[in-house]
């Protein structure tokens, strides 16, 4: 038994336990409930739907590890998508050249970075609570977007944008490839870079981190700027997927990205959390949604079940911790 608990305490297994267990549970329950579930079609739809939510969740992940939040993720993504749409629109619309598109993408990433940079600046220098700062940025960006578009859609993109949202390479959807690449980048940044080290340290204890000589303001600003850039990537993918940009697309994702992070084992106060378990947690959520869809339930029930899944995982974690302490006491 003690060997088992030691194995459960090993870092990788511990991080993967919650989402991995949920993955198996979802897989087993739905395979029993519906013979259609274990099919290529299910995984195909998961692979197509996952990237939007996944990229936004990555954007949420780094701020949460620092003990903050970025509630502006979806509206930053919308603004980035609008930037692309306008630059394409101003340069020929459906006849725009790939060079213009490349320029538009760079500008969109710049817009995302700027939104994140401003938030990081305010959070780092005033020490206002990140929930409030990102919340007001969210309200501001939503208002700005609605003001500029009058609440309508912007569409009309060149044909070569279409494959970015709908194409496949070797059977894997392009948005999924983008997501996999971004997960890999986030994993490397968090585990192999000084920035990642600083991110975890700040989440654990920002004062101690500052005294130990890390420029905490710089780290916070960088984290939010990177988060903004990731939002922009999500915005571009969303634009290609829907073939239009609308302020409010993905609005309901804001709290779900937080939910996915917590489900992936990120500590709500910061300091702990990894990119890969969060990725697994995202697959859990999408599989649940697809599974319920096959059984004939609607998206709203899926949302409710996502909430229940998170509560269940948290209760299971509580039970495990309690069992572990009881076991430790009984050994003395």
């Amino acid at each position: 038994m003690s060997a088992l608990f030691q194995r459960l305490n090993a870092p990788f297994v511990r991080d993967m336990a919650g989402p991995g267990f949920a993955f198996l549970a979802v897989l087993i329950v739905f395979s029993l409930a519906s013979p259609q579930f274990l099919s290529g079609a299910t995984f195909g739809s998961v692979a197509f739907q996952l990237p939007e939510l996944g990229l936004l969740t990555l954007a949420m992940l780094m701020p949460i590890i620092t003990g903050g939040f970025n509630l502006a993720v979806t509206f930053t993504a919308n603004m980035a998508g609008l930037t692309v749409a306008w630059i394409l629109g101003a340069n020929g619309g459906v006849d725009a050249s790939p060079e213009v598109f490349a320029l538009a993408v760079v500008a969109a990433l710049g817009v995302g970075a700027l939104a994140g940079f401003v938030m990081g600046l305010v959070i780092a220098f005033t020490r206002a609570h990140p929930i409030l700062v990102s919340l007001s940025m969210m309200i501001f960006l939503r208002g700005l977007g609605e003001f500029l578009t009058r609440g309508g859609d912007v569409s009309g993109f060149p044909d070569f944008v279409h494959p970015i949202g709908h194409g496949s390479v070797l059977g894997i959807p392009v948005p999924m490839l983008v997501l996999l690449l971004c997960v890999a980048i986030w994993h490397i940044v968090l585990t192999r870079s000084r920035l990642g080290f600083g991110t975890y340290m700040i989440g654990s204890n920002i004062e101690a981190t500052r005294y130990s000589g890390i420029n905490t303001r710089r780290v916070v600003i960088l984290v939010y700027t990177l988060s903004g850039i990731m939002c922009a990537v999500a915005g571009i993918i969303m634009m290609a997927r829907f073939n239009s940009v609308r302020v409010g697309h993905g609005e309901s994702y804001v709290l779900i990205t937080v939910l996915a992070c917590f489900l992936g084992g990120v500590h709500p106060d910061g300091g702990f959390g990894k990119a890969l378990p969060v990725f697994v947690a995202l697959i859990d959520l999408q599989m649940l949604s697809s599974g319920l869809n096959i059984l004939g339930a609607n998206q709203h029930l899926a949302t409710a079940v996502w909430g229940l899944l998170l509560i269940t995982v948290m209760i299971c974690r509580w039970l495990v911790v309690r069992a572990r302490t009881t076991f430790a006491h009984s050994r003395k």
Binding site: T126, L135, G143, F147, W306
Partner: protein, 331 residues
């Protein structure tokens, strides 16, 4: 007066900002500085203020809740179904049912937080999705327009014809709002429970060692917010004359921003009812003023967001750095 400014920094700052905005608006528009507009402001802010004072109690106790606005939708819908089922009802029954549903949902949050040691933000984001998802699933998104007369009948508590012939009035939501504000103020400043809530929010472990019943504090804070949410839901149904399951969706963020703007601290132990009301009023006055100045409604949110962003930047940078004369007085 000077003492008030020293001890209530945020409230004073908000009062000054509201005064400046009001001055500018009364010079820029001829509609702002009228009794009618002031009453309109009160009528439209009522629901948000009821939500805000409820949320304040949870923030003081060191928790956070995202789910209250959708809990209010559940209470609203549930009450509408219940009174239709018993075939009528009245305000008393409506408030009791809505309040009980709200308290139940609030206590569910508290039970998950207390029983399993899950952080309140995790619990409330989960329950937000559970409440909203189930509400939309069971109602299929269908609105209720056929409400009992007592709920939809417009009640003016005070009305007067102005010299230009227009009618001004204060309606029922304002009375409910005032009762909720006074009750919350009494709870947090005039009772032992209030004192314990501040102590608990400021330092949970210290409060526990002092003999404060932590579980009771959590249930009181979240139950109170639930009660306020239930009442606000019913008042919103009265105000809008309809029950739309996703009408309050998203309201939690606006209320949270306004409450924290009013000086409540995410993290607990700090916040006043006055500041909370002023925070809501500031955002409402800004929207109202922009409206009167003929600014496009699409720009409202943008400007309100910018104001909150600037306000928190200023209020968190130390005031004395911005106002050097205060430093000499040792503030």
């Amino acid at each position: 007066m000077v003492k008030f400014f020293r001890t209530h920094g945020t409230e004073s700052a908000l009062l000054v900002v509201i005064a400046v905005i009001s001055l500018v608006l009364s010079l820029a528009t001829d509609r702002y500085f009228t009794v009618g507009n002031a009453f309109d402001l009160l009528n439209t802010s009522s629901v948000n203020i009821i939500f805000a004072v409820g949320l304040l109690v949870v923030l003081i106790s060191g928790g956070i809740d995202i789910s209250f606005a959708v809990a209010a939708s559940v209470a609203q819908y549930g009450t509408a179904l219940f009174v239709a089922w018993i075939g009528g009802g009245d305000w008393a029954i409506g408030l009791i049912v809505a309040g009980l549903i709200g308290i139940g949902l609030g206590c569910l949050n508290a039970a998950l937080i207390q029983g399993f040691g899950i952080p309140s933000i995790v619990v409330s984001i989960s329950t937000f999705n559970v409440f909203f998802g189930l509400l939309m699933f069971f109602t299929k998104g269908v609105s209720i327009y056929d409400l009992p007369d007592w709920l939809t009948e417009h009640i003016a508590l005070y009305e007067r014809q102005m010299s230009d012939g227009s009618w001004v009035e204060i309606s029922l939501p304002v009375l409910v709002m005032v009762i909720c504000v006074v009750a919350t103020w009494t709870l947090v400043t005039r009772t032992t429970i209030g004192r314990q809530l501040y102590a608990f929010g400021d330092n949970p472990e210290g409060a526990r060692r002092f003999g404060i019943n932590i579980a009771a504090m959590r249930f009181i804070a979240f139950g109170w917010l639930g009660l306020m949410a239930g009442i606000a839901g019913l008042v919103q149904a009265h105000y809008a004359q309809e029950v739309v399951p996703n009408a309050l969706y998203g309201r939690e963020m606006d209320v949270l921003a306004a409450v924290v703007l009013g000086g409540a601290r995410l993290g607990g132990g700090k916040g006043t009812v006055l500041g909370c009301v002023l925070g809501v009023m500031l955002t409402q006055i800004t929207q109202n003023g922009l409206n009167l100045m003929g600014v496009s409604p699409f720009a409202f949110k943008m400007i309100v967001g910018a104001i909150i962003l600037i306000a928190i930047t200023l209020s968190n940078s130390r005031i004395e750095r911005l106002l050097p004369f205060l430093r000499r007085q040792g503030v």
